[in-house]
Structure formats: C-alpha cells, structure tokens
C-alpha cells in the first residue's frame, strides 16, 4: 500500500460501497482537476441555423454514428438516434416552404428526464450537459416517456459494430442519447456533428459556451435571437434554432 495508507483504504472502500464521494483527507487521486474554477461557469450550447442546413445533407448524423458507435440495426423500431434529420412543412398552407434541420437532445436547464429518473442515472454535469450514467441506468425507460423531444433511444439488443473503438458502446438494456460529445469537449474539441457540419461547408451549427460573452455563439444569439423548441414547456433548452 504505497500512496494510500490502510485506514484511508478502508474509508475508500466504505465510500465506494456507500456510493458517496471520498472525504477530503484521502489522497487517492490528485486534487480535483486544475481548471475547476471556470468549469462551473461553462454552459455549453448549440445554435442551429436551419436556413443553412441542406435538405440532402446528413453529415452530422453520420459523424455522430461513427464517433459514438450509435447502433444501427436496419430496423427503424430499434435503431439508435442521437441526432436525426427532420423535414418540417407548415400544415396551414398548401405547398409551404419546407425546412430541414437536425434534432438532438436539447440539454435542457430543467430536464424532465432527470426529474423522473429513479436512480439519478440521468444528471446534469457541471457544464450543463445532460448525461446518462449508463453504469447506473436500470433501463426503466421513464425518461423516454418524459422527454418531449424524443431525444432518447433504448438499446433493444446488443450491437456488434464498433466503428470507433476508443469510445465505449452500449450494452443492451440501457437508455442512450446525445452527450454533446462530452469526451471530445474534455479534450478541447468540438462535438463530432459540429465538426462535420463545418467541414461539409454547410456551417449551420455554432457550438460554444453560452456564458462567455466573447464567444461566437453568444454574439450570434444577441444578433439573431434564435429560440428553443417548445419553449412553452419552460425547459430552457440549450439547443437553439434559427429559421424554424
């Protein structure tokens, strides 16, 4: 027992058993991440300009599938969807202009999926991302019923495909959804869909820190006033749309 004395280890074991965080006195890990200070101030957000989103383009969807190993079974009832393309047309006019746009988890400030999760497997990370702790998910699917954006899918069977071996896939029986590519954000990259959208030249997605007045997304919101979907629900989504 080198870095940890015996008593500390017992405590750590108890803490693991009880599912609580370690006490302050235990030095199992280095101090909390160095940049803890501004992390709490970060609020990741995404603006989608539907006017720029190409009807035939689905680069974001493909990039997401490859990056996050989102399962595709060839059966529309069970396919996973973290981000999907939708086409909307007004119902009240004949031949109204249709708009194409991607739909994904809106990472609400008041996420109903988190409120209904019995084991708190769904939680809001320090930077505002709504995540599922798939180690803790029991697969009750209440969150899927409670989500008004249909952003979540259930893993109905195990998938063998593993296009990106550096990122975990899911085993059957848990619920999954968009993570804003939290693993990429932690490495200082942007989400895979945003990267693909920019690379394809569409440039319909702007990703950034909503709380940073210097950021591009902040400036865009000030000038163009995009809005969230179904804002009447009061969930305060952090994915905003322009031209919907």
């Amino acid at each position: 027992m080198s870095e940890m004395d015996r008593r500390g280890f017992v405590k750590a074991g108890l803490a693991v058993l009880a599912g609580t965080a370690l006490g302050n006195g235990i030095t199992l890990f280095q101090a909390r991440a160095e940049d803890g200070q501004d992390k709490a101030k970060t609020r990741w957000g995404l603006v989608i300009d539907a006017n720029k989103c190409g009807e035939k383009c689905s680069e974001c969807v493909n990039a997401c599938r490859t990056e996050n190993n989102v399962p595709l079974f060839g059966d529309p009832r069970y396919d996973g969807h973290w981000i999907r393309k939708a086409t909307i047309t007004p119902e009240n006019v004949e031949g109204g202009k249709s708009t194409s746009l991607p739909l994904l988890c809106n990472h609400c400030e008041h996420p109903p999926c988190k409120h209904v999760c019995p084991t708190a497997a769904t939680f809001v990370r320090h930077d505002g991302i709504v995540l599922i702790d798939k180690h803790r998910c029991i697969g009750c699917r209440y969150c899927m019923v409670a989500c008004p954006y249909k952003a979540r899918t259930f893993v109905f069977k195990n998938s063998e495909a593993w296009p990106n071996p550096d990122v975990p896939k899911r085993s059957k029986g848990v619920v999954e959804k968009c993570t804003f590519c939290a693993h990429r954000l932690d490495k200082g990259q942007t989400p895979a869909c945003v990267e693909a959208c920019t690379k394809s030249g569409e440039g319909a997605m702007i990703f950034g820190n909503l709380n940073d007045p210097q950021s591009e997304i902040h400036r865009y919101i000030k000038e163009n006033a995009p809005h969230g979907l179904r804002e009447d629900f009061g969930l305060k989504p952090k994915v905003l749309y322009k031209g919907v």
Partner: protein, 119 residues
C-alpha cells in the same frame, strides 16, 4: 409430537448441509476436489513495466479504483487519465491473455467489456 420434532430436525440438518457444502468445497478446494491451475498471465508490454499502483495493490483493488474513478469521471466530469479504464489498454494490450484469464480463475464476470473496448 415426536414426528414433528424429527421432521424439524431433518429440515434444519438439510438446510445446514446446503449452507455448508459450498464452504466445504472452498475449504477443501486444495485437494479434495478439482483444483484449477493458476492462470498464466501475459505480463504487460510497453510503459516502464510498472502499473499505476504496486502490483499487489492492483491485484486486489483495481476494481475499486476503477469504480471510484468511474463515478468521478462520468458524473464529476473530471479528467483522471491515470485511473481511466481506457488507459489500461496502453500496457495490457491483450485482454484475453490478462484480464480474462484471471477473471475466469476467480469466477467473476465484470460487465465492463460489454461497452469498453479493451481488445
């Protein structure tokens, strides 16, 4: 009355035997029954030949480190590359020759590898 007493004793004896069997099995496992061979582990290549913690400690506690780091990484959003499960494969290149052999010997079936890719 006597019959009742007897059947009660019989049930108690049967229950005790059932409880004792696996204990007996493990206590005498070194000779009475089959003794599985110690697993042959292919030791890691790469790195400087040292794990993140001493071998003895890792052997009995790696799962606790992983579970605890898991909660801090996933829920706390911290970066803990030292204890991240994805870091294991930097040195333990073949899961089948290391992790799986010992897990098989100990008779545990962790579900980590259903989602985490340690080739």
């Amino acid at each position: 009355m006597n019959g009742e007493k007897f059947s009660g004793l019989a049930v108690a004896a049967a229950v005790m035997l059932l409880v004792a069997l696996p204990l007996l099995y493990s206590a005498t496992g070194n000779g009475l029954f089959h003794k599985p061979p110690k697993p042959e582990l292919v030791l890691p290549v790469g790195g400087d030949g040292k794990c993140v913690e001493p071998t003895d400690f890792m052997r009995s506690n790696h799962m606790k480190l992983l579970v605890h780091a898991r909660d801090r990484i996933v829920r706390g959003g911290e970066l803990l590359p030292k204890y991240h499960i994805e870091g294991c494969k930097n040195c333990h290149v073949k899961r089948a020759e290391f992790c799986d052999r010992c897990h098989g010997y100990a008779g545990v079936r962790p579900d980590c590898f259903e989602c985490h890719n340690l080739p």
